[in-house]
């Protein structure tokens, strides 16, 4: 923004840009070296199976792309409002985390808080590696849905993995996605058989920060065969007081008429960095519902790219970010209406307290000759803190004419009239603010169909809002409210 800046403001910015470029180059070299050390002579690549050939190829392409793209800099328009300067300067250990002693009690408590449903299928990863001992109910014979780690999939269904892995993920977008492919080693596969309906949601829990300064690259592949339906939740949590980077990538393929509800709950530790890309490819008449809730991490970025690549496909994207302290959350969605008669709706809401910053970019693309399209998008932001910042970029790019597209965006604080009305009726300022804020958030969470997941998302948001509205904005206090540690305080108070 050249306009507002006086000459005095310009000089340090250029200076910091130089620093950024230097630290970014250094961090990049660290990852390149680590890749060289760990994967150049990976013994498994020698084994000529399809899966290992595929993985080796994806790693090779990934590291090549990463070498070219590096970390997104300030001149990258898609990252305009999100600087990764603090991330590249954080001095993470780029090597894949070695298996270390897991503080089982602490980690189990975090997992229990994330997934309260004891009978659900849960696959747990700690710092990027699957941990069978912490996972739950995976041996249950479920004919509809199959949950596996990459290792299991490679022996049980190698074809599935070698044919689908990396098929749609765009590693050209920016360095992080390329890096995920480059360090591809472990991940989760969720396979829903054709025509089958999975009664209960599948939970994938990614725990970070067991090793401080570690980097993990969780990878998830979800395949919903024609006519199937399922719910998959991804939980990102971490040990409080630790700093780590979770760089996730999820590929979702929906067959003809398949229905998938995907729920991503980001409750990382307050000092964590989180980057995730979800790439969805939809078949004819398929239906995709996404929920993205972000309440944790120091810096988080979630990208959701949906390709409506066959007629009658539809998607609904819901998102909620509730931030406090110095947290920064960026949500970047792209909906590509590549074929006629496709529909999309999008609702994203943000609650910013303290000096936090919420960023939303929603791009809707309607390709030439993709007629009879309907697309609607809405982004609302609530600013609770005096230093809070909201940035929003709704974008419509339309190359066909028979379309009904709209978007709306609002930024503001709580409605003074509504607060006044409530106070007139004897509700104190704190509870009134809390009620209005929770009602604002509920418009997003109420769309989560599974009751356990909805409760879990609501709890995460309530904790954050309780803290924001009643707890003040003091920074030291901010630490324990996040990071997935269950502190069900004042839950009854939220009416």
């Amino acid at each position: 923004m050249a306009i507002a800046g006086s000459k005095k403001k310009w000089a340090p910015r250029r200076y910091s840009r130089r620093i950024f470029l230097a630290t970014s180059a250094q961090a990049k070299q660290g990852f390149l070296d680590a890749h060289e050390r760990f994967f150049a002579a990976d013994p498994r690549v020698a084994d000529n199976s399809d899966v290992h050939t595929r993985v080796a190829e994806l790693r090779r392409i990934g590291i090549e792309r990463f070498g070219m793209l590096a970390f997104p800099g300030p001149k990258n328009e898609d990252w305009k409002y999100t600087s990764v300067a603090s991330l590249v300067a954080a001095d993470f250990d780029p090597a894949p985390a070695a298996r270390s002693e897991i503080p089982v009690d602490r980690v189990s408590a975090i997992i229990d808080a994330a997934v309260s449903d004891q009978s659900a299928q849960v696959l747990v990863f700690v710092d990027g590696s699957p941990i069978a001992e912490l996972s739950r109910n995976l041996d249950e014979v479920d004919t509809a849905v199959c949950v596996m780690s990459f290792e299991q999939a490679a022996t049980e269904n190698p074809k599935l993995l070698s044919e689908n892995l990396g098929q749609f993920l765009d590693t050209n977008a920016h360095g992080f996605t390329a890096l995920n492919s480059a360090f591809l080693s472990a991940g989760a596969v969720v396979f829903v058989s054709a025509g089958k309906h999975a009664a209960r949601p599948v939970h994938l829990v990614f725990v970070g920060g067991v090793q401080d300064k570690s980097v993990s690259h969780p990878r998830t592949l979800i395949i919903a065969e024609p006519g199937s339906s399922a719910t998959v939740a991804e939980h990102y949590v971490g040990l409080p007081d630790s700093s780590y980077l979770a760089n996730a990538a999820t590929e979702i393929v929906l067959g003809r008429g398949a229905r998938l509800s995907h729920c991503k709950l980001q409750r990382e530790a307050a000092g964590a960095f989180h980057v995730a890309r979800i790439q969805v490819h939809q078949g004819e008449g398929s239906e995709f519902v996404s929920h993205a809730v972000a309440v944790g991490a120091r810096l988080s970025r979630t990208e959701i790219h949906v390709a409506l690549d066959a007629p009658e496909a539809s998607c609904s994207l819901y998102g909620l970010y509730a931030l406090e302290g110095d947290a920064h959350a960026d949500h970047h969605t792209v909906i590509d209406h590549a074929q006629p008669r496709t529909r999309s709706t999008e609702l994203y809401k943000g609650i910013m307290d303290g000096r936090s910053r919420g960023v939303f970019t929603g791009r809707v693309l309607v390709r030439p000759d993709a007629q009879k399209i309907s697309a609607s998008q809405s982004n609302s932001n609530l600013l609770l803190g005096a230093g809070a910042v909201a940035e929003t970029r709704p974008q419509l790019e339309i190359y066909a004419d028979d379309v009904q597209c709209n978007h709306g965006a609002t930024i503001g604080r709580l409605d003074e009239d509504a607060l006044f009305y409530m106070r007139q009726r004897g509700i104190g300022p704190g509870p009134a603010k809390r009620m209005l804020t929770l009602a604002f958030a509920a418009e997003v969470t109420e769309h989560i169909a599974d009751p356990h997941l909805r409760a879990s998302a609501e709890r995460a948001v309530h904790e954050r809002v309780e803290h924001a509205v009643l707890g003040g904005n003091d920074g030291a206090d901010a630490v324990h409210g996040s990071g997935g540690v269950a502190r069900d305080r004042g839950n009854g108070g939220a009416s």
């Binding site: 923004m1 050249a2 306009i3 507002a4 328009e77 409002y81 030439p368 000759d369 007629q371 932001n381 600013l383 609770l384 803190g385 005096a386 230093g387 809070a388 910042v389 909201a390 940035e391 929003t392 970029r393 709704p394 974008q395 419509l396 790019e397 339309i398 190359y399 066909a400 004419d401 028979d402 379309v403 009904q404 597209c405 709209n406 978007h407 709306g408 965006a409 609002t410 930024i411 503001g412 604080r413």
Partner: protein, 484 residues
């Protein structure tokens, strides 16, 4: 809608009605851009030393931009690279001496204005609008100057102002759009040949609407206009700008800069009807219109931009307001039409710095044929702009299945008491709307014309009366054929 359209010539554009070339002996600089050319322009215009220095500073900034980044590529427009060394940067009509009355003006030139429908003498008597006609960079006629002088308003060509009021130029030039602002503004600052200057002193309400007609005439001559309007404390002025251009095969570059300065309690209303040559129906030729327009608002001041963009092969224009003062107001009303292969990337920036500053954005885009129309805007509220408000509405109308309509708003609020509402919609004209009109005996063309005019009404009503009529006509001519 217009007379001779039928359903058969769908996508057949109306011929450009104002396409003709006047043959006037030109005093043209050799093509190319270097320090020598800038010294030549400055010397030719008998400018004081500070102007030359300012131009050279701009030229060096531009050269640096060329070296570092090249021509900006972020806008949603496509065009072949421009060879800046192939352009001639100075052209003046044959007569260079100061003119006192219309009789001294080249009769051929007067005939050109006649064809455009702006006979100076008639306008003088009937409309009471002072016309500063810029013909190929040098003003050849200025009317009503005396009347304005009585009110204390200075309204003259830029080169004249440089000579007669150098202190004002020195004080205000480049204070809103600095030479380093962007690629095209830097280029303009280095090579601009003329433009308009208007100064309204403290407490004066300008007695008439001011208007200037710009025209490109000599082939291969880029036109670089510079406009500077200053409204002192409590002053008010309404400025009208309109342009048409002759038909040409080669692309012509137009990079103008407009600066508005509104002091405390002042008001500036700036209206534009832009109808440069848009190129033929294959997209050949047409003007590249890269304009930087910006205004600065002090306490309780108001700046209002209204624009109707129907011409040009490429429109790249973001009239902006920096709301520095408390309770300052910024407004942007725009209709942009693209037909055939026209491309428009236009919008506004509202930068809120002052407390309780308010802004309104109403943008209407119409795409037809293979036209591409983008709205790109920024609403920024800085931490000190407590109680700032913005309302934005950007609607797009699509006519035909080969065109495109895009919206790229940026909203950036750094203040918890700021309030922003933004809405945008894109659709085509509903078949039921057309059916309803036809039921009531309207032809399809009339129905579409009516709906399109209704779509743009919120903007047209902001235009001064004369322009509102012209704008509606222009809209119909531009869309002729496309809406069969």
């Amino acid at each position: 809608m217009s007379e001779q359209t039928s359903a058969n010539d769908l996508f057949e554009p109306g011929e450009y009605k104002y396409g003709f070339v006047t043959d006037i002996e030109s005093d043209v600089a050799p093509p190319g851009l270097n320090e020598g050319i800038i010294r030549f322009i400055s010397a030719k215009k008998e400018e004081p030393e500070f102007m030359l220095e300012w131009r050279l500073k701009a030229f060096r900034a531009w050269e640096k931009m060329v070296k570092d980044e090249g021509s900006p590529a972020w806008a949603h427009v496509k065009f072949p690279p421009i060879d800046y060394q192939a352009i001639s940067y100075y052209a003046a009509p044959g007569k260079k001496k100061q003119l006192n009355s219309l009789d001294e003006v080249d009769p051929e030139l007067l005939a050109t204005f006649e064809k455009l429908g702006i006979p100076l003498e008639e306008q003088k008597m009937l409309t009471g609008v002072a016309v500063d006609a810029v013909f190929d960079s040098v003003s050849v006629a200025t009317t009503f100057k005396e009347k304005l002088y009585e009110a204390g308003v200075i309204f003259c060509s830029f080169s004249e102002a440089v000579k007669t009021h150098p202190e004002l130029i020195k004080k205000y030039l480049g204070t809103v759009v600095p030479v380093t602002d962007n690629y095209f503004a830097a280029l303009n600052s280095a090579v601009f040949t003329d433009g308009s200057f208007c100064y309204v002193p403290k407490g004066v309400r300008c007695p008439m609407e001011l208007s200037t007609y710009f025209r490109i005439n000599t082939a291969n001559t880029g036109q670089f206009e510079r406009t500077l309007i200053v409204a002192e404390e409590g002053a008010h002025v309404s400025y009208l700008e309109g342009c048409t251009a002759p038909m040409r095969d080669e692309n012509q570059l137009h990079a103008a800069v407009v600066e508005l300065i509104a002091a405390d309690d002042a008001g500036i209303k700036y209206s534009t009807v832009q109808n440069w040559y848009p190129g033929d129906k294959e997209g050949k030729g047409g003007i590249y219109n890269f304009v930087t327009k910006r205004g600065k608002c002090a306490d309780r001041a108001k700046i209002s931009w209204t624009q109707v963009e129907t011409g040009s092969a490429i429109t790249w224009k973001y009239p902006s307001v920096i709301l520095q003062g408390e309770d300052s107001v910024g407004e942007f009303y725009s209709v942009a039409v693209t037909n055939n292969y026209q491309q428009a990337d236009t919008g506004t920036k509202m930068v809120h710095l002052g407390k309780n500053s308010k802004s309104t954005i109403i943008s209407k885009g119409i795409s037809a044929g293979h036209g591409q129309n983008s709205y790109r805007g920024l609403v920024q509220m800085n931490p000190k702009a407590a109680g700032a408000r913005n309302y934005s509405q950007c609607d797009s109308l699509l006519i035909g299945d080969k065109c495109g309509a895009h919206t790229f708003p940026y909203i950036d609020v750094r203040n918890d008491s700021g309030q922003v509402e933004h809405e945008a919609s894109t659709s085509k004209i509903g078949e039921d709307q057309i059916f309803y009109c036809k039921q009531r005996g309207l032809s399809e063309e009339d129905a579409v014309s009516m709906i399109v005019n209704g779509f743009c009404k919120a903007v047209f009503k902001e235009l001064p009366m004369e322009f509102a009529v012209e704008a509606q006509k222009l809209l119909n001519v531009t869309l002729e054929g496309a809406i069969g």
